[in-house]
Symmetry: D2
């Protein structure tokens, strides 16, 4: 039984607490938050869970084996480093840290302490993304041509990070998980519509060594919520719509074969599509339940998590390069190699 402490009971923390509370191999021990009313809420919902305003007290609690951190990115490093140094396993809300340097130091400390360092890239634990990863890995799509994602809504503005670090990070973690290549460079554009505040709209193009491109549109100021990803391959294509209650993943047979006979394609006119479509059944298990179990298993098995510190670092490196490109209105920026 792994004892869990959660730092931060704002937007995401309650989801972590709820899921660890229902994970059989875990026990919710303590929650810390600076706000009295948030702790009162914990007390009302989970009478047996300890609450404190001081995260150090939570980390010091001997019943706490592992710490989950759901606080603003700027505080990740401090809280996580403190917990790692105390020999606790650490799960961090995405993104792992505010810089690749911070991420590297957390990874090194976790190695030194021989504890698990995991980042909460939640989509990696959804049945939809698992299915997509499986389809790509089994070559069902053929050669991958592009990954294109729109992730927009009228949503929670963040003070300390821009929309790339808040929304696009989800796609970067998905790309890291499902695609067999690593991006080499990024071109990003974006804008803030509130003077002095982080960018609330941004577009990223990722370049790879292969003839593949990825593009992400992230926007906090859209009239509607859209979560739609197109993945194009030489054999099949996917539409992944996360707002759909059912049929989130649709697989389209292509019906045209580009490489074999390029000329045919150039004479083809197709109104909509030319092949069958198939929507695999996906079970409805909540991703955070899977993630919570995975974290506990990694601790018990002393195995690296699927979304370990290295995965978190790779994503942070893209975020850094994208931020630089954004300042230069789309000039392409190379992404540092992920090895430290």
């Amino acid at each position: 039984m792994i004892g869990i402490g959660v730092i931060g009971y704002g937007y995401w923390g309650p989801n972590l607490v709820r899921n660890f509370a229902e994970t059989p191999e875990a026990r919710m021990v303590a929650v810390s938050d600076l706000r009295h009313e948030r702790l009162a809420l914990v007390g009302q919902r989970y009478p047996g869970v300890q609450t404190t305003k001081d995260y150090r007290e939570l980390v010091a609690d001997p019943r706490v084996d592992a710490v989950a951190i759901a606080t603003p990115v700027s505080t990740h490093f401090e809280f996580a480093m403190h917990a790692l140094r105390a020999g606790k396993h650490v799960l961090l809300e995405k993104p792992l840290a505010a810089s690749s340097e911070e991420a590297c130091r957390l990874i090194e400390e976790a190695e030194r302490q021989r504890v698990v360092l995991m980042v909460d890239h939640p989509f990696v634990y959804t049945t939809a993304i698992r299915k997509i990863q499986e389809l790509i890995a089994s070559n069902a799509l053929g050669t991958i041509y592009y990954y294109d994602s729109v992730r927009v809504n009228l949503g929670l503005f963040q003070h300390d990070v821009n929309v790339i670090w808040d929304l696009a990070v989800h796609d970067l973690s998905i790309i890291d998980y499902v695609l067999p290549w690593r991006p080499r460079a990024v071109s990003a554009t974006g804008m803030s519509h509130v003077p002095g505040k982080p960018e609330n709209i941004a577009y990223l193009t990722l370049f790879f060594d292969s003839p593949l491109m990825a593009h992400i549109h992230a926007n906090w100021l859209a009239p509607v919520k859209v979560r739609r990803t197109l993945i194009g391959g030489s054999r099949r294509m996917i539409v992944y719509d996360d707002v759909e209650p059912s049929e989130k993943v649709k697989v389209y047979d292509r019906g045209l074969t580009l490489n074999n006979n390029a000329e045919t394609v150039y004479q083809m006119l197709i109104g909509y599509r030319s092949g069958d479509m198939w929507a695999p059944h996906l079970d409805m298990t909540e991703a955070l339940r899977v993630l919570a179990s995975h974290f506990v298993s990694a601790i018990e098995d002393k195995a690296p998590a699927l979304t370990d510190g290295e995965a978190g670092l790779r994503v942070v490196r893209i975020l850094e390069a994208a931020s630089q490109s954004l300042l230069e209105r789309g000039r392409p920026i190379e992404i540092a190699a992920a090895n430290r």
Copy 2:
């Protein structure tokens, strides 16, 4: 009664012929095409219309007052210049020409001949885009923050131009019509998935002097047809979905006021939206019918067309800059001022 000759009876030409045939002030006189079977089809459908393989014969016909050209972009200049020099009014399928230099020379020749030169930017003549232009002009949206368009399908591959010149050109013409500012620079990325062929997927970001950005996603290799544009403003936002049979334009009240009280926004979390939505009724008149009438009226009134040569030139200049940026993986390229 204006006599019309149409050069090119491939994909778009039949639409032009059909609409001019039903325009009361116009008379369809002749059609030219290099392919016998296309001319045979004209004969079957319009027994009274002259057909010829030689466009010069069509232009020389004294009953032809105006020539509409629906041929590959690379041939626009030759055909249009020939017709202008013969003193004929000219309507060109988008884009106006294959280069800004060609476009300038066509504009000059039209001025010299005192004839109408018009480009077929069809969306400008739709009731949906008319309504959007009206909403923006009347300040119903407030300050415009962004224009974001996705225009993708599994479609007709073009031999001579890439997807920017084929699909993104529609959005550039819409932007030229509905926004009160001109883009100053562009960052474009894209890729070809058929060796030796033009790019089939591309992303454009347009920069303006004001705090406004525009972005276009154009893709010939998508599993589904998407035609969705988001326009964000400080007071209201629009979702324009051209695939919807009804309710193509939806106007969303924002429910948040960024400029007045930036701090509030940063504490706001909204699941979906926070205000009312309104979908204005749009009548169903076919855009090409409106365009055909407009062309005829411009000729009769000796007035410049709404989408005149200058509008065509402005769009071609953006296409040129985008093509350059695309070669440099998104490096921003300034757009030449539209004055010749």
Copy 3:
């Protein structure tokens, strides 16, 4: 080459003329209509086609081998009988006739004259309904449990017939084609919202000998256009949405087996669905093109049409029973056996 005359150039007639004009084995000879302006329109579009206000003149034309009738139902019998007696093949817009007695007499006259009598049940000639028929015939759905259709819009009100004879007739013709059983009784309810006018909203339940039921909702006064049919079977289920531009037919694996283990089902809770979904590719051929070819082939091959007079009669008999039930607020009415 079969010479075609079309009586009635109102709403549906132009579709018939256009499709016969493009059918290689047919030749459009003449069109009759009582309204001068409609005939003028024919003249403008098809300069070679004869026009007349007198349908008898059209029928008498020796170049006319077959007559297609697209006029109000109340006139079907007169026009069709006249044409049959003149030895002409006849195609009638749905429904075949205003009563089963009229239908029987037309069938008998066609037999006597040894000519083709066909009813235009257009959905039978769509690729979507063909695919559904094929799936049912091959037992892909298992035992059929129900057919449920919603066919509503804000549409063309009819003077001479109610919404059952105008809209529900489509579903009755589909049921006649795709289901292996004939309905035995019908319960219908409905209402008119314009005093003295035919019912503009109606609901039909059809009873069969097997444990199958069919239900149709037809409505001229709905805010949106809906064309959605659910077909439930013991193995798979279909959603057929004719308003969808693509993916009109979706086939759902059931994931529950009622007959084998009824108890399990009663403990099952499923949020959405429990199996895969598959949308077969459907080509986009216009149904009326297929229908026009089929009519011409039936004439040439001296073979009965798929939707022959008997099919038309079966549908009219259900319409009659439904009209009776509607007067009695849903009291079930037996449907007369189709044999004459």
Copy 4:
């Protein structure tokens, strides 16, 4: 502070417990259920709540002021009567009781004891239905022509009641709340596809004294979840789609005026719609939270609940008449007047 006991912790009970637990003026005191594992779950989630297998023990607990019952319909009468006789306020999951006789006896006992008797008609407490009621009451729709609802899914089969008592009951409760007239008769058809089990598919038509009709399609065996209601009026129409995450209620301007000029309508052809559409903002408060507060307020204010015993009885009377009609394949059955 009102002490609450909940009988039944199956499908619906957890929702009641959760919402009473978060209602400030209520205190969750006890839960009873026959199944040990369900009570264990209560203990894990709400350590302070008493659990028992014996509902009589729960009712006898002096801290319990009010009892909420979420058990099969067949048990409603026994549990509710026991609680009422003990002087407890009672909230019953829909429908109120298994027969109108039972419903009447519960109402009489509640009056005798001067306690609140309320039925959980949950849709009455949603923001969507509140908005619809308001629009109808303010005459925004004009004369109401019809209420048409489709409520289908692949769902939880019930042992003790058919799909009318399980799903259609929701629409009957909505109709009771939003329409100013009471239904006078009902025609119902339906079928069971599992031998010996209750009907899993059913259609109801309700007749009123005014020129209004209502129709409900309820189905446990559909491939997709549909929750769509059309409400037609002489001035405006509503589409209420409860599956939509946003824009659940859409209001359509009609654009045609039937009563004033009936002839015009009969010449009108409209593809889709002819007026504007408007989707009012709806806040996202959970209906059960509103219902829980309302129950507590009714107790504190000694006021009848909005969905009191009488409302429950009216709905049960329609259910009884519909069940009778269903046995007679749609023969219309009068609905007993609601006064006892």
